[in-house]
Amino acid sequence: MANPEDDDTEKCISNMKAFYRGLAGNRSVKILTLANLYIDKYGEDISAILLPFFEHNNNLRSLDLADAHELSPKFLLSINNKYIRYLDIYCCGGDDELMAKSISTLETYQSLRKLS
């Protein structure tokens, strides 16, 4: 018999991915908080699902990626919108080189007012 807790977890993951798929198509969200993102073994999946959002949403002004771990650099590198004003990348993972590369992209964020 299946463990009910496992069923709940699977359902949560499925719901989470469905939500991110919906979000990926959004181009109007201005403020997004993905802090304490539940990644576990699904990092690659989440990253692939959400990349279109970061590539194409030009209305984003505030992005909170605190504790988004290794996903933060990937998202930062994929952002094409240079009008972000508030950025929180506290406790994001990745090695020093990857972080350096991500932070080098911030030079083009000429609207950035708060960096955490």
Binding site: D96, I103, L106, E107, Q110, L115
Partner: protein, 483 residues
């Protein structure tokens, strides 16, 4: 950002040279090395946009690294707010901080609380650190500095000279510090005289480690103070109930315009203090927040006496925070429930609800105060202000009532309560409409159909009064009239 090596700091430094709008940089909690701190200091020294910098809790920077950071940073003349709390500092770092900002007139806020002090020479630990703090205070509190906020909580070396400097400063609006063994009556006398001066600027004061004498002196100065809005006297555990009584008796006759009063974790505040507290605070109409969390000497008798504050028409309290005190019992719950009848200001009554002993009897009294569903008029006069009681009371969840009170318009709150709890969404009390004047009915129907929440009532209403909507009978009526 969180990474121990320095390449990302180099890139951050590059970004700081080109940015034109970055105002706030928060690097707290990162693993920054001494080398990284030096790079950061140099680039921030050349930056002219960042006004607010937080470098709290960066344990990986040693005192040498912090000195280096400050030396290189000293060219900066833009920064207005600096937070370097929870770091390794010693007297040399404090002296460097004093030197770096000695000439700055832009620095408005300096937070260096919870310092992990280190001595450069162990045998001279206290003397050297006292020297460091004195140098820093002399620098940031000099007459032309413009400093408005200073948090030096955790500094154990405030002596009489330090107290005089703090008191005499004419720009400081927010001050947080702890009393120390190096201060005497003379220093406190000087500080308190400044505070009682009509020209005193201080608006927010947090002070800990007070004794009976020092709180007594502070109390006297409050008698004449007309500026202080926020007073935080948390964790002053050595003060006797008698001195607290004097404190509140003085507040009662003073003109101090307090908005917020924090008195958590004071064992000296017991039942004998509460009457004078209630008498004083119930009369300060400006007081909005009162925090008495973890005042464990207060018993049920005291809490019942405290609840009378909320009866007072002059009470302006919107948040009463009583976390961590007594186990919630029916009589306390009933006492506070009765106290908020007719109170239209209290929004948060944060009670200790863990291990609650309250039963349905107590909870029901509170429910009746929030929504007495016995008649439309009694719902109208219920409490529509209380929004938060700090969670469930044992197994009882009052959030349906409290959440309704969060609606912006009080008319909307009353409407929702009448629909949901008097008409039970149309399942009860429909006879209210039978004797109603016919010309009122369209208004009632419009009131019901204002939004989705009234639609069930509207549906049940139309079912129970078919004659109102029977077009054939209306035609007969019209024909009769024509003849």
């Amino acid at each position: 950002m969180n990474n121990k090596t320095t390449n990302w700091i180099v890139e951050l430094g590059n970004m700081l040279q080109t940015t034109t709008k970055l105002r706030e940089l928060i690097l707290s909690g990162n693993d920054i090395t001494d080398e990284g701190a030096a790079i950061l200091g140099a680039t921030l020294g050349r930056n002219s946009t960042v006004k607010k910098l937080s470098m709290q809790q960066i344990g990986s920077i040693t005192t040498i690294g912090m000195q280096s950071f400050l030396q290189k940073f000293s060219n900066n003349s833009t920064l207005e707010e600096l937070n370097i709390s929870d770091n390794h500092l010693d007297d040399r770092v404090l002296a460097e901080l004093a030197r770096s900002f000695g000439a700055s007139t832009n620095l408005k806020s300096l937070i260096i609380s919870s310092v992990k002090e280190e001595s450069s020479l162990n045998s001279l630990n206290h003397a050297l650190n006292q020297y460091g703090w004195r140098t820093l205070l002399n620098s940031v509190l000099r007459p032309d500095s413009g400093i408005e906020k200073l948090d030096i909580f955790g500094c154990d070396y405030i002596n009489d000279d330090g107290l005089r400097l703090l008191g005499n400063n004419s720009t400081l609006k927010t001050l947080t510090f702890a009393n120390s063994r190096y201060s005497t009556f003379d220093g406190w006398d000087a500080f308190c005289q400044c505070l009682s001066n009509p020209g005193a600027m201080l608006e927010e004061l947090t002070v800990q480690c007070l004794g009976n004498t020092t709180l007594g002196m502070l109390t006297n100065s409050l008698g004449n103070n007309i500026k202080l809005r926020k007073l935080n006297l948390e964790c002053n555990r050595n003060i006797s109930p008698e001195v607290w009584q004097i404190f509140f008796n003085t507040l009662r006759t003073s003109y101090v315009p307090l908005d917020e009063l924090y008195l958590s974790e004071n064992r000296g505040i017991n039942d004998s203090v509460i009457p004078s507290m209630a008498n004083a605070l119930g009369g300060i109409s400006s007081l909005s927040i009162l925090n008495l969390s973890y005042c464990t000497s207060i018993t049920t008798v005291g809490w019942m006496a405290l609840s009378t504050i909320l009866h007072r028409p002059t009470s302006g309290i919107t948040q009463l925070i009583l976390q961590g005190n007594v186990t919630m019992e029916d009589n306390i719950l009933i006492g506070f429930a009765n106290a908020i009848v007719g109170n239209s200001r209290l929004e948060t009554l944060y009670l200790e609800n863990y291990q609650s002993r309250a039963t349905y009897i107590g909870v029901n009294v509170l429910i009746q105060v929030l929504c007495n569903a016995s008649s439309i008029e009694s719902i109208y006069t219920s409490n529509h202000t209380l929004k938060n009681i700090g969670g469930r009371i044992g197994d009882f969840d009052l959030s349906p009532y409290l959440d309704l009170n969060k609606l912006e318009s009080k008319a909307a709150v009353v409407r929702q309560k009448i629909i949901q709890y008097y008409f039970m969404n149309g399942d009860k009390n429909k006879e209210e409409f039978l004797d109603m004047e016919l010309n009122m009915i369209p208004h009632v129907i419009a009131w019901m159909g204002m939004d989705d929440s009234g639609l069930s009532l509207l549906y049940n209403f139309t079912h129970s009064m078919p004659s109102l909507f029977d077009s054939e009978s209306m035609k007969v009526e019209v024909r009769k009239r024509k003849r």
